[in-house]
Amino acid sequence: MTLYYLCVALHLLALSLWLGHMFVWSLVVGPAMKRIEPPATADLLREASLFRGGLGWPALAVLVPTGTYLLQHRGISLELLLSGAAFQGPQGLALAIKLLAITGMIGYQALIGHRRAPLAIYFDMLLALIVIGASVVLVRGWV
């Protein structure tokens, strides 16, 4: 059970750091810093805020193995995933939605990553919200 909770903790931590960075930079910090005066200070702070960015791949390096373990803990093996049997029923639907959204986020990470993408980032954030929602349903059920 200790390994289970450790994986849950690491999974949530990687998720929080990656998505927290994404949401906060795109929705809060980035816009807020545009109005800092003088503009030279705003540019300096914006540059500083981009230090050590690009948390996607490191986060995925933790999320994928811990997620795989957590699925196996719920009786969902790789064979069931590949055969499609894992996607049967209401919980299977939630799992399918989550994995599709994750695939989309990995695609974004591969094609755009940490580069500036004013519109695409909103799509990525929407996928992130879907991942969180599907995760809640996976663990707590639909009703």
Partner: protein
């Protein structure tokens, strides 16, 4: 989706935002310390602290300074936590009380951060945010 699941979703999302905000200050501290002396560092951190959100659409006097984002997250986390507890029953045990203690510490640190961004407080705040996620994972039911 019922109120409980919506509450759990909101709690997770607000936790993500809270960790993201703590990470932001840590990154700013690390990035600025590499280039500037402590006096300039304090000036730039204060400038960042005074940044207001949103940057458009709202009169300047109504825009919230950045530290207030963390306060909004904390209030939301408390509210959604209470709603979830009403459904699944009150939590208990030493890990639960550890979480409450960490929340109280996070609130105290946020009081300091609202007035002044202090490097040691930034580091401790991030550590507390990380510990909150870990402890919360461990007491998941």
């Amino acid at each position: 989706m019922d109120l409980y699941r919506i509450s759990v979703f909101a709690h997770l999302l607000l936790a993500v935002l809270f960790v993201g905000l703590a990470l932001y200050w840590l990154i700013m501290l690390v990035a600025l310390r590499r280039q500037y002396d402590p006096q300039r560092l304090a000036v730039y951190l204060d400038a960042a602290r005074c940044a207001r959100w949103p940057h458009v659409g709202v009169p300047a006097s109504l825009r919230l300074p950045l530290p207030w984002m963390a306060w909004l997250a904390l209030v939301g986390l408390a509210g959604t936590g209470i709603v979830s507890s009403q459904v699944v029953g009150p939590p208990a045990g030493p890990l639960w009380w550890l979480k409450i203690g960490l929340v109280a510490l996070a609130i105290l640190l946020q009081v300091v951060m609202t007035r002044r961004v202090v490097p040691v407080v930034v580091r401790v705040s991030f550590t507390v945010a990380v510990l909150l996620v870990i402890v919360s994972a461990w007491i998941m039911r």
